[in-house]
């Protein structure tokens, strides 16, 4: 899913283990939130798609595996509640960090680690295009690249749009006390198509951009472990690396790597999510291209 803003810089040091110390990119809360979000999102996607593509044989099978449409609906709503909780926890985390580290929203939103798009992002974007086309060097990306910021706000937007329309579909009797009945139909279309966009985008573009880029292949697990090797950090985010080195603060951000068993567990989970995501993409493509009704 999306990388979240700002990992805690003050991760307490564990006992030094074997191997090189690593750069800590994501806080524990953000890592947990990402894992929970994966679970929530996958559940939402699977249960929701059974309805959207109910005309495929697959949907019927899956719906039965999930315990029938009522159970699937229940899972969908509970996963949505989970997603909402994640959203609230994240906003809450932002507010906490504003208080502790920035003092004001302005400082948080305009600081060097801001998630808001900046002029520099536009420069990076143009620079990236030039680099892709062989017209210049790789831009020296900072802590949050423009595509990471795009992913972040896409989720913000998605949660608002899908969440609000989802509530309408969940409580149509309540909403039609105020809104005309046909708005439920509109909500259905928005909910369904926005979900398709989210699912499609995350399981293709996001997967590629953040997890499956050839240089990261087979998988970048930084969002689960929170850690990345210093060398990789230096290559990937040169601007942030240099800023930390120049400020002499790099060492504060180094932690001991996880033991291999943890890494293996993370990989197992990540592969499962990835496989599920790709499965859903294949199903969507099949449903839309070959079985569309």
């Amino acid at each position: 899913m999306t990388p979240d803003e700002g990992g805690s810089r003050m991760e307490p040091r564990a006992e030094p283990l074997q191997g090189e110390r690593q750069y800590l990119r994501f806080s524990r809360l953000n890592r947990i939130l990402h894992v929970v979000m994966i679970v929530s999102f996958m559940s939402l996607a699977l249960t929701g798609m059974t309805l959207k593509f109910s005309y495929t044989a697959w949907a019927g099978i899956l719906s039965r595996i999930l315990g029938g449409y009522e159970t699937a609906g229940y899972i969908h709503r509970m996963a949505a509640v989970l997603m909402g909780t994640i959203f609230i926890l994240h906003i809450n985390d932002l507010a906490r960090r504003k208080r502790r580290e920035y003092g004001s929203w302005k400082a948080l939103l305009t600081g060097p680690d801001t998630m808001l798009p900046t002029k520099r992002d536009l420069k990076d974007f143009v620079g990236s295009l030039r680099w892709f086309l062989g017209m210049g060097p790789r831009p020296r990306y900072g802590r949050w690249t423009y595509w990471e910021k795009f992913d972040y706000f896409a989720v913000f937007w998605g949660i608002c749009v899908i969440g609000s329309t989802g509530l309408m579909l969940w409580f149509p009797e309540l909403f039609t006390l105020l809104l005309p009945g046909w708005t439920i139909n509109v909500a259905t279309i928005i909910h369904s198509d926005e979900a398709l966009l989210a699912v499609g985008f995350i399981f293709t573009v996001h997967f590629f951009n953040t997890h499956l880029r050839p240089e990261k292949f087979p998988m970048d697990i930084v969002v689960f472990s929170g850690r990345m090797p210093v060398g990789e950090f230096r290559d990937d985010k040169p601007a942030e690396y240099e800023a930390l080195v120049n400020a002499g603060k790099l060492d504060e951000h180094l932690v001991d790597p996880y033991p291999p068993i943890v890494i293996r567990t993370i990989r197992a989970f990540a592969w499962t999510a990835l496989g599920l995501g790709f499965g859903i993409v294949v199903w969507i493509l099949y449903a839309m291209l070959f079985a569309y009704q």
Partner: protein, 656 residues
């Protein structure tokens, strides 16, 4: 008697002869002139060596019905002749006055015998007398009812020349008659209205029973008997219309088949055509037909426990002839049940089964194929093959796949027996034992079985609602008020009837999952576009996944009582739509009912909001993917390049 009149005649003729000689030249021909000679008691003549009196009793003649007539009125050949006449006058011809009777008599058995010169054949005076003829109604008449048996019996009694020398099939006629109920009534009880010989044989038109004009011909016998026994068919066969006995006498037993002529008694079937007579031969278990060798044994026990226990053999095997030693040897046709079951027979003849029989199709079932023969039982008897629970098996004999009726069937219904057994009707009948459940005959009828295409068929689409409505009456009423009823539907397309949704033989309980799901397909067969849009909605999508809890066509539109939305009685009329939604959504309001249950985002005219929302979202989706996808694809070569570079210097922990 005959002898006496013979003698009288001779005397009379002789007297005439003498008179003619004595009165030659005289012209006056008063009766007194005749009686001048014939008034003499001793007047007689010799004829064939016998003395024949020629006396005419003036007193008797004076009281006769012909008293006013002159002698020469009858003895017309003496008219104008000189009396006494020399030669014997010609035989009196009654014809000039009694033209009709004369004509009838001439055509009758007796008349033709006379024409043949049969000396034994009776002429008018043989029955009616000579000068003393009185009115038939006069008790003194020779042909008064109570005398008739003796008048006829003169010739038709044992020992008479007629009985001995001529071919008369009946024997002991007079004896039998006098012992019969008619004879007893007439002779012992003096009931002059009781049937005498002429009541059945007529007085003058006596013909052989084989003559179609004869009153005792098979065809006419019923008419003859019913002259007196006018309401007899009500006593005998309530269901036969009166005229059937006369019209179809050949297929019905005639009165005399059971009530032997001359022997008729109130005691029924004691003699002659009684079952006991048939059972003399047919009670033998070894009896076989000479042709084909099929058994002709009749199990009397079976017959006694059958529906026809009070029906005599001859009532069904009607062509028997009681005057034969083997009365059954005259039988040429198979038993025709429609003799009694006339209405059913008429229905059957119009049915496919009946029409095939008429074409001599060997596969076609006749009555006994389903009902059995001597052991026929009522349809309410559980042992009967026509008892409801036995009907599927009964029809299956021919209509099961591969059997003789099924192999010639070209329609779309197959495995009907198996399907029926699995249907709600079949389960109700065969598993739950509900004898009121519809069986084959409830829908197809028992005797009017016709193909679907026939407009008269009970299963023709035009008749299906009323056929099903015989049990499902309430449904039929609702259906007939619905848009699907032919009398209400405003379309030239074929409207659905019960079996279009419920199927013919595979009818399922309407509350089973399978039925609930397939019914949408059924609606969709005609309402194609609207069904498609339904499947675009949440209700439709859940249904399509195979769940039945969300609203399906009939949950909103009704099942049998579907009406146009504009009809105030429609479930979806403005008055009712909110209540309809509230069946599932208790909190539904009028705004809620504004939900578009058949919404499609493909119709910008009808649903602009949906159309533009959909294309707005689709644009967003495509735009995002194009940008994101292009970005990724452009990135790919560089990323691969980076990886190659990276693989050189140092292995990294993250990629272990």
């Amino acid at each position: 008697m005959q002898l006496t009149s013979f003698i009288v005649r001779r005397y009379f003729l002789l007297a005439c002869l003498g008179l003619a000689r004595g009165l030659s030249g005289a012209v006056a021909q008063e009766n007194s002139d005749c009686l001048g000679c014939h008034g003499d008691r001793s007047l007689a003549t010799q004829r064939g060596g016998k003395s024949v009196p020629l006396f005419v009793d003036e007193k008797k003649f004076g009281t006769s019905i012909h008293a006013a007539l002159p002698c020469v009125g009858c003895h017309s050949d003496l008219q104008g002749k000189e009396l006494p006449h020399g030669s014997p006058p010609a035989k009196v011809d009654c014809g000039p006055c009694h033209t009709l009777e004369q004509k009838e008599h001439a055509e009758s058995l007796h008349g033709r015998a006379i024409a043949r010169g049969d000396q034994l054949a009776p002429r008018c005076p043989d029955c009616h007398g000579y000068h003393d003829i009185v009115a038939v109604k006069n008790p003194r008449s020779a042909v008064a009812p109570q005398r008739i048996p003796w008048v006829c019996g003169k010739c038709h009694q044992e020992g008479s020349p007629v009985q001995r020398q001529r071919v008369i099939h009946e024997d002991h006629i007079l004896t039998n008659y006098s012992e019969s109920i008619h004879g007893e009534a007439l002779l012992k009880k003096g009931l002059t209205v009781a049937a005498t010989c002429v009541s059945c044989h007529t007085a003058h038109t006596i013909l052989r029973h084989t003559d179609p004009r004869s009153s005792i011909n098979r065809k006419n016998i019923a008419a003859t008997c019913t002259k007196c026994h006018s309401a007899i068919e009500a006593v005998h066969r309530k269901i036969i219309r009166g005229e059937l006995w006369e019209k179809e006498a050949n297929s019905l037993p005639a009165c005399v088949d059971c009530h032997q002529p001359h022997k008729a008694r109130r005691v029924f079937y004691d003699q002659g055509m009684a079952d006991a007579d048939c059972m003399k031969c047919h009670g033998d278990p070894g009896i076989r037909a000479s042709k084909g060798g099929r058994t002709l044994f009749v199990n009397l026990g079976e017959l006694r426990s059958s529906r026809h226990l009070k029906t005599a053999c001859s009532q069904c095997h009607s062509e028997v002839n009681a005057s034969r030693v083997r009365p059954c040897e005259t039988i040429t046709k198979k038993v025709d049940c429609s003799s009694c079951h006339a209405d059913i027979g008429a229905l059957y003849q119009k049915s496919t089964h009946g029409m095939l029989v008429a074409k001599n199709d060997p596969n076609a079932p006749v009555c006994n194929e389903c009902h059995g023969t001597h052991g026929v039982l009522g349809k309410r008897d559980p042992a009967s093959p026509t008892f409801p629970t036995n009907i599927p098996d009964l029809c299956a004999r021919c209509h099961r796949e591969g059997k003789k009726a099924a192999v010639r069937y070209t329609g779309t219904e197959h495995d009907i027996i198996e399907r029926y057994q699995e249907s709600i009707h079949g389960k109700g009948l065969l598993k739950s034992g509900l004898t009121v459940t519809a069986t084959c005959t409830d829908c197809h009828t028992a005797h009017s079985v016709l193909p679907v295409a026939s407009p008269e068929s009970s299963v023709n689409p035009g008749n299906v609602p009323s056929t099903c409505g015989r049990c499902h009456h309430g449904i039929e009423e609702m259906f007939n008020a619905s848009v699907h009823a032919t009398q209400r539907g405003k379309t030239d397309k074929r409207l659905p009837v019960c079996n279009d949704c419920h199927s013919a033989h595979t009818i399922l309980r309407a509350d089973t999952e399978g039925f609930k799901l397939t019914i949408m397909i059924q609606c969709g067969k005609c309402h194609e576009a609207i069904t498609k849009t339904y499947f675009d909605t949440y209700h439709g999508k859940v249904s399509q996944l195979g769940y039945t809890k969300t609203a399906k066509c009939y949950d909103c539109h009704g099942a049998h009582d579907i009406r146009a939305i504009g009809d105030p009685k429609s479930h979806l009329s403005r008055e009712n739509v909110v209540a309809t939604c509230q069946k599932c959504h208790p909190g539904a309001t009028r705004r809620f009912a504004g939900y578009l249950t058949h919404a499609t985002h493909h119709d910008p005219q009808k649903y602009p909001f949906l159309f533009y929302t959909f294309w707005g979202m689709t644009g967003l989706l495509i735009g995002t993917f194009v940008v994101g996808g292009l970005h990724t694809i452009l990135w790919l070569p560089r990323a691969i390049q980076m990886r190659r570079k990276k693989e050189m210097p140092r292995p990294e922990e993250g990629k272990a």
